[in-house]
């Protein structure tokens, strides 16, 4: 085909002169547009063109606003304005007329009008509002073409806030008899899903219908949505695997109509989409993966033709094979495929091969070895893209042995590169490699110097800050640290001694910080010299104010001692009249500190304390000041975003068309349609044959927990069969070994003086690049024990939850935290067994049955490879939950009110460990955990045991304070021993936390317990928030133990009643813009259904019922003492139509979810 185009296009010149040529028949050369285009083509200079177009635009403008212009003429004018816009000249006067044309024209003109609108306006343009009514009208038209046009424009330019207006109509189109309409409707919904996922939540069921549509086009379109949804939560769609596999098998087998063939390949777009979906579903899931091996094999086999499109499919296939649970036979074929790509003479294929290789080496580094010579050739390829991708590949295979060579390669690429995006990316990678694998201090500092000077001020700020942190915190060896610091000081001094005017600001900042902090470490260095150098920097032109401030801080640190003080004083004096207030203040501070030596020593001790300063981020030391101010009548503080929001509420008019959307969406929502995402995950996943969803769900989570992780983050985990490694690996690894000595030399002098022949050089490079990838190393590379210990292993850092402890126990801590994470008590209660209370009360007469199923689980767990010890603990926690069903209900769903605080709410610790053989020592005493007196009167949950080991039991209670959630953790020492250095750490990414007290203790006597509080705040609602925590303690000095625990909090924990009057409610209602509507189940078992339902919600979620009038009720709550959420409920047949509004966009969704849960569990 392209040949045909080539031919006709070469005939262009003749076409220009002769109108009678074929193809020119359609050219409307006589029309005004044709004339205009013709005139423009004839022009030679840009200036002339500009003049002509200005003139043309003036004419168009004139005609467009004339009342005598017919719609047909208008269409022509619009096309001409489109042309002008395309050439880069604004024709904004035409926008409104384009909308008018779409509104009033006949089909013919409408089409041009819609096209003009979609080209002229983008999603943010305010004129779009005027289009809503037109689109609504056309969506309801009986003319298919009009409906098509409306759907097209809707999916092109409709913004988030206009979606509700058209959503019901678009949804309706899903069952239109014409497939083209259905297809466009599905794609429009896909677009809506991308822009505002929560608005189309309720249509998920209909997406399934689209997936089963008899028209392949509609089905293909629905896959776009599925790909997106599966990316977000693969587990919810496992039940569809069978369908996807069947579809793919049919497509590959050529069962689709021939129309869908592309160059005799059946529906390639569809195939690729399915392959992507399957790879997402099969990731880390052996049983699912097994169902797709056959069809993948078939796809590989069929895609043999030598055409781009088959390569595209093959590429997706290979990716899928390496993503899902591995199968040796397929891996082998996929590897061969990649080989063909990489070795292909076609450059596009080579690139794709490299890309595939980059993806694959994370799983199987030996593949890179097979292609080492090709990779080396690509490294010197003339096309930058190929070079770049090769570097990416090398980055992935870097280890401690080849790091110097690879980093050198990347840096030399960087020196020639002038693309900002590439520089930022590569600089970050080099910094990462340097920190991870640096062979020695000198190399590290030198490399970082290059990184800083090349990366310049484009560099993301976390690179310098993490570098400085590394210097400050140091590693485990002090000698090493000192050496590193001294080396840094030395090299930076020499940098400053040279011309440093070209250095980026970030680098200068790093230099001045290091010199200020560590120059004292270097013996024999005159500090005055350092001060002089810094002073020079301060005076240098082109140094930014920020950098000056860094320099000044360094000077402040250095100004100890007589000679230096005078120098520094001179600097301070010179700054006393500067215009920059920050510098002036710093100069002022500097002068003060010089004059007061003892103050200086206190503020800036030398050496700087090893642990970073404890920063009281909650500013609690100001509490007294604040309460005084409040008592004196000051207004309470509001965070900036809240003020902003309030301002916005006052000013901004509500833009959404409520009159339009309200009745339609209310009537179109039903309970069954609409589900919150997490509920859906359960019900849709299991809807097929689950009579007892709770049990099934529990089992599903358990199984997942037990499934072996096959691919780790960086590769394939150990269980791999050694026979799988291709035999060819042996060969290159020999090369590696034999040339090992050579490599060592290479590292010290990357470019050896005597020049060997070209090929040898390449061989040499190969051996130095691919060292450490041989089979003797592959075991450790694949097994994630990280044989190449990062050079700079950071010290355990208390603030850093991810860093593990140093003790011998810490090595398996990740394991234990994994198993406890999944079964942690209230995460487990709320999440994995949502309906446990109901179910267990049903089974109450036969408690044996419950524990029986529990045993089965225990069995399953151990079989599935979870360490028995830890697995035991997990199971016991679960067993305990089962054994006390009634207590469970209390513990989570009903809050213990002050008056209801009975003995039942207090759980003696032995309760939780009674069934725990390995920790029997824990529970023998009869100590009872009690909330501190001052908290007992607040609403709170039960005290539940979190985790325990042979020494320590940790229990937890949630106290619902008005302004925060209080997590009270009880540590009880279950032994007679004294535990030392007990430190508790709790962290959560999404929430703000403040520790109130008691998280660090020097010692803890035997048989005592201690209480520790955390206040938790939630500013943005999340349905569930996981948190993690660690407790470390020492039984004897040096014997450090670490316990990891984790759990989940839900929004429900943060909801507080909001008491207000009906009038206030009304006022507030109008000021909120985020709303969600949905139908809920109405409880009809007792009395007035509305009151009964609202009471349940009130009890479960702490809502405040403002008023109930007839069949309507209004309810209010707030997120702690922050954003309110209002709920309007109306009895609507057998369901409750609720309408929620809030100032926070995600709050209504969250609340709705919990309402559903509460009603379900009732």
């Amino acid at each position: 085909m392209s040949d045909v185009v080539e031919k006709t296009l070469t005939a262009l010149p003749s076409l220009l002169s002769l109108d009678s040529q074929p193809g020119a028949g359609k050219l409307s050369s006589t029309s005004k547009l044709g004339q205009f285009i013709r005139n423009i083509t004839e022009l030679t200079s840009k200036h002339e063109e500009e003049k002509l177009i200005k003139k043309e635009l003036a004419v168009i403008k004139d005609q467009v606003s004339s009342p005598y212009t017919t719609m047909r003429q208008m269409r022509e004018l619009m096309v001409r304005s489109m042309y002008c816009e395309m050439l880069g000249y604004e024709a904004s006067f035409a926008y409104i007329h384009a909308i008018k044309l779409a509104q009033q024209g006949t089909v013919l003109e409408k089409r041009a009008g819609y096209l003009a609108v979609s080209l002229f306006l983008n999603e943010n343009h305010e004129l779009l509002l005027l289009l809503v009514n037109t689109v609504l009208k056309d969506l309801q038209s009986t003319n298919i073409i009009e409906v098509c046009m409306a759907l097209t424009v809707v999916s092109q330019i409709f913004p988030k806030d206009m979606i509700p207006a058209v959503l019901p109509l678009v949804e309706e189109k899903l069952s239109h008899p014409k497939e083209i309409i259905r297809r466009k409707a599905v794609l429009a919904l896909y677009k809506f899903y991308l822009i505002a996922p929560n608005q189309v939540q309720h249509i998920h069921g209909k997406f399934r219908k689209a997936l089963c549509d008899k028209d392949p086009g509609v089905m293909t379109s629905s896959l776009h949505i599925y790909l997106q949804m599966i990316q977000e939560s693969p587990d919810s769609y496992k039940d569809l695997v069978g369908s996807f596999v069947t579809i793919l098998r049919q497509v590959v087998g050529g069962k689709l109509p021939l129309d869908f063939n592309y160059h005799s390949i059946p529906a390639p777009w569809l195939q690729m989409q399915l392959l992507r979906i399957l790879s997402l579903l099969g990731r880390e899931d052996q049983s699912t993966s097994e169902t797709m091996y056959d069809v993948l094999n078939e796809s590989l086999r069929r895609a043999e033709m030598n055409h781009n499109i088959t390569y595209a499919i093959l590429y997706e296939c290979v990716k899928a094979i390496y993503t899902i649970h591995p199968k040796a036979e397929l891996l082998e074929k996929a590897a061969k495929c990649i080989g063909n790509f990489v070795l292909s003479p076609k450059i596009n294929l080579k690139y794709l091969g490299l890309k595939a290789l980059t993806y694959v080496v994370q799983h199987d580094a030996s593949l890179a070895l097979q292609h080492q010579m090709t990779i080396i050739e690509c490294l010197d390829h003339s096309d930058l893209l190929i070079k770049r991708e090769t570097l990416e590949l090398l980055f992935r295979i870097t280890n401690a042995q080849n790091v110097t060579v690879i980093v050198e390669r990347i840096l030399s690429f960087l020196r020639l590169c002038n693309d900002d995006y590439t520089i930022i990316d590569l600089v970050g990678k080099v910094a990462e490699l340097a920190e991870k694998y640096a062979p020695d201090n000198e190399w590290f500092i030198q490399t970082m110097t290059v990184v800083f000077s090349l990366g310049g001020d484009l560099m993301p700020p976390d690179i310098p800050s993490s570098f400085l942190r590394l210097l400050a915190e140091g590693s485990q060896s002090e000698v090493d640290d000192r050496q590193l610091k001294v080396y840094a000081v030395n090299s930076y001094l020499s940098v400053l001694n040279d011309d440093c005017s070209h250095l980026p600001q970030r680098f200068l900042q790093v230099i001045s910080w290091v010199l200020g902090e560590y120059s004292y470490l270097r013996e024999g260095l005159d500090q005055e010299e350092v001060i002089l150098l810094l002073k020079k920097l301060l005076d240098q032109r082109g140094v930014s104010a920020e950098t000056r401030s860094w320099v000044l801080s360094a000077l402040t640190k250095l100004c100890r001692g007589s000679g230096r003080a005078e120098l520094a004083l001179a600097v301070a004096e010179s700054l006393s009249s500067t215009l920059d207030t920050v510098l002036r203040q710093q100069g002022h501070e500097l002068r003060h500190l010089i004059q007061d030596g003892s103050l200086h020593a206190r503020v800036l001790p030398q050496p700087a304390p090893a642990n970073s300063l404890e920063v009281d981020s909650s500013l609690s030391f100001l509490d007294g000041f604040v309460s005084d101010a409040l008592a004196a009548g000051a207004a309470p503080y509001k965070p900036p975003h809240q003020r902003q929001e309030e301002l916005g509420q006052q000013r901004a008019p509500t833009l959404e068309p409520y009159a339009l959307s309200l009745p339609m969406s209310l009537s179109s929502c039903t309970v069954t349609d609409r589900q919150s995402p997490s509920v859906l995950s359960m019900s849709s996943g299991l809807s097929a044959n689950s009579t007892e969803p709770s049990q099934r769900a529990g089992v599903a989570t358990l199984m997942l927990e037990g499934v072996k992780r096959v691919w780790g983050k960086e590769g394939y985990l150990p269980q791999r069969d050694t026979s799988e490694t291709p035999a060819t690996v042996e060969e290159p690894s020999d090369v590696v070994q034999s040339s090992h000595q050579q490599v060592v030399i290479d590292i010290s002098q990357p470019e050896p003086e005597p020049e060997p022949p070209q090929l040898d050089k390449k061989q040499q490079l190969a051996s130095s690049l691919f060292v450490g990838l041989g089979s003797q190393n592959s075991a450790c590379l694949l097994g994630k024990t990280e044989a190449t210990v990062p050079r700079f292993r950071r010290k355990p850092h208390l603030n850093d939850a991810s860093s593990s402890g140093t003790s011998e126990r810490s090595s398996d801590s990740s394991h234990s935290s994994h198993s406890t994470a999944d079964s942690f008590l209230y995460g487990g209660l709320l999440e994995e067994e949502p309906a446990t209370p109901i179910q267990s009360s049903r089974h109450a007469p036969q408690p044996i049955a419950a524990s029986g199923s529990c045993e089965a689980r225990q069995h399953g767990l151990t079989v599935n490879g979870v360490d028995e010890n830890r697995g035991g603990a997990v199971v016991c926690a679960k067993e305990e939950k089962r054994a006390h069903p009634t207590q469970l209900i209390e513990s989570d769903m009903v809050r213990v009110r002050p008056n209801a605080l009975a003995e039942g709410a207090v759980v003696p610790p032995q309760n939780c460990s009674r069934h725990l053989p390995s920790t029997s020592s824990c529970g023998s005493d009869s100590e009872v955990l009690k909330l501190p007196f001052e908290l007992q009167n607040l609403p709170h949950s039960d005290i539940i045991s979190l985790i325990s080991d042979s020494h320590l039991c940790i229990s937890c209670c949630r106290v619902f304070r008005e302004d925060a959630l209080l997590i009270v953790l009880f540590l009880s020492n279950s032994t007679e021993m004294v535990l030392c250095d007990v430190a508790l750490e709790l962290s959560c990414e999404e929430l703000q936390m403040g520790s109130l007290r008691g998280n660090v203790m020097e010692s803890m006597a035997g048989r005592t317990s201690s209480v520790c509080h955390y206040t938790v705040f939630m500013e943005r609602p999340h349905t569930h928030v996981p948190f993690t925590g660690t407790v470390s303690y020492q039984t004897q000095p040096g014997h450090k133990h670490t316990l990891h625990f984790s759990g989940k909090l839900t929004t429900a924990d943060f909801i507080r009643p909001l008491v207000l009057s009906t009038e206030e409610y009304g006022k507030l209602w109008l000021s909120f813009s985020h709303d969600v509507k949905q139908n809920l189940r109405l409880l009809t078992d007792a009395g007035d259904p509305l009151i009964a339902t609202l009471n349940v919600l009130k009890d479960c979620l702490q809502l405040h019922i403002v008023d109930i009038i007839g069949s309507e009720g209004i309810v209010a709550c707030r997120l702690l003492d922050g954003a309110p959420c209002l709920m309007h409920c109306r009895v609507h047949g057998a369901s409750l139509a609720v309408w929620l509004r809030s100032s926070l966009s995600s709050f209504p969704d969250c609340l709705l979810y919990h309402c559903q849960r509460a009603l379900q569990e009732h």
Partner: protein
């Protein structure tokens, strides 16, 4: 897909379709930069290039360059085929298409594109179906044309 540009060897824009909301200023800047970069590429080079955080896939048909911007996880080869399929559609519709067809009937080229890609995703991959849809719309135009002219008469 984020956007698609068609431009001539002289760097004149022939068609632009944006699937992400951008301001006019940004669009102009991107277009200018890309046209320059792509025109400077040598014929033997890769049809892909990295540009900002996007991948650009381009192909030249005679004097026209077709250029698409895709995200990193997208497949470059299939994008080339999308371009090719679009050219096929144009070819079929215009009957051996040439640059002039696209210049003088650019709105038709847009209609075809909208029928083929919607919201940046391949909407209909069956050539027959796309052309059928376009022809139906055209047919309707003719009808209303006649009706319109009858009224005028």
């Amino acid at each position: 897909m984020q956007f698609m540009l068609l431009f001539s060897r002289q760097g004149k824009l022939r068609l632009q379709k944006w699937y992400v909301p951008l301001s006019d200023k940004e669009k102009k800047k991107i277009t200018r930069e890309l046209v320059q970069t792509v025109l400077a590429r040598k014929p033997k080079m890769c049809s892909f290039l990295e540009w900002r955080d996007l991948k650009i896939v381009y192909k030249r048909y005679a004097s026209l360059y077709f250029c698409c911007a895709i995200e990193d996880q997208d497949n470059e080869l299939i994008t080339l085929e999308i371009i090719h399929r679009y050219v096929e559609l144009l070819d079929k519709y215009f009957g051996s298409v040439c640059e002039l067809d696209i210049i003088f009937n650019f709105e038709k080229a847009y209609f075809i594109l909208d029928e083929f890609l919607l919201g940046g995703e391949a909407q209909e991959t069956s050539k027959k179906n796309v052309l059928k849809a376009i022809e139906q719309a055209d047919l309707l135009q003719e009808v209303s044309h006649h009706e319109g002219s009858r009224f005028v008469d």
